[in-house]
């Protein structure tokens, strides 16, 4: 099996925040901590693009490299997890992460930083599977139930794909080939009745 990966299709994401809500609900993530969020580029401008961002479970994770207490580990499935019992909440991983994935609950005095919390690819953590400790510290372990991350499974437009890297890339490749490019992506022919660009090209070739 390949590594577990997320892939967000910016052509499909409608910025509904369903993935964010599903994640917060599934893992009962505390107030102020967002394991996943939707980022919109050129917001309000025609052609704006949105993508859902969380921990990308990097193969060569910078958070692992900078952690002074070495509390991160890679599972055999390529999921980056950490041991909250060891985390000292220093915030180095937050500075190192290019996606801003590590989050810190700030419930203590003077906004004191708590132990780091991040997307677990719904794979729990280093506690007994489905135990109360695992749920309290890391959230639900869906992967051990043979399920995929709730954010990807709940995505209404299937913009966010998650799971085995080979399967995800295969789905995206087929989708990209089918929808074409340019005006075809927006369904111009369906909306305005004209033939898609590829068919028009074929028609022109036929005439000449």
């Amino acid at each position: 099996m390949a590594r577990m990966k997320f892939l967000c299709d910016s052509e499909r994401c409608i910025e509904c925040n369903g993935c964010v809500t599903a994640c917060k609900n599934e893992h009962e993530v505390p107030w102020g901590v967002n394991r996943r969020r939707v980022v919109t580029l050129s917001d309000g401008v025609p052609g704006e693009k949105s993508i859902s961002v969380a921990c990308m479970h990097c193969s060569d994770a910078p958070c692992m490299a900078v952690c002074p207490v070495d509390c991160f580990y890679h599972t055999d499935q390529g999921v980056v997890l950490h041991d909250k019992d060891m985390c000292i909440g220093c915030g180095y991983c937050f500075y190192a992460c290019p996606f801003g994935a590590p989050q810190y609950p700030q419930t203590g005095t003077f906004g004191m930083r708590g132990k780091m919390d991040k997307c677990t690819f719904c794979a729990g953590g280093p506690e007994i599977d489905h135990s109360e400790e695992e749920f309290k510290k890391y959230g639900r372990n869906r992967l051990a139930e043979g399920k995929l991350p709730i954010c990807a499974e709940m995505c209404s437009t299937k913009a966010l794909l998650g799971g085995d890297g080979d399967v995800v890339s295969e789905i995206f490749r087929e989708r990209a080939l089918k929808r074409g490019k340019g005006a075809d992506v927006w369904g111009w022919g369906t909306a305005y009745g004209s033939a898609p660009a590829q068919q028009q090209d074929k028609a022109k070739e036929g005439k000449s």
């Binding site: 509390c71 990807a152 499974e153 998650g162 399967v167 989708r175 089918k178």
Partner: protein
């Protein structure tokens, strides 16, 4: 009687023992608790192949064109 006295002495000595409470960190090595593989639980009973098959099948369900047969 002598045996019990010896045992009590040994137990009393054990009470004085103290383990190092400071974790030793080696750069690059994960020092935390070990985690079980996702198939090593009651649901899959160590059946890796079944787990992989289930996860792949679940992944393919994300392709709506296959679900609707389009």
């Amino acid at each position: 009687m002598r045996f019990f006295l010896m045992a009590a002495f040994v137990l009393a000595l054990l009470g004085c023992g103290d383990r190092d409470k400071v974790a030793v960190y080696k750069p690059g090595d994960y020092q935390g608790k070990s985690d079980a593989a996702p198939w090593n639980n009651k649901t899959y009973n160590g059946d890796k192949a079944k787990w992989e098959g289930d996860v792949r099948a679940r992944g393919r369900l994300q392709d709506e064109s296959r679900r609707i047969g389009g």
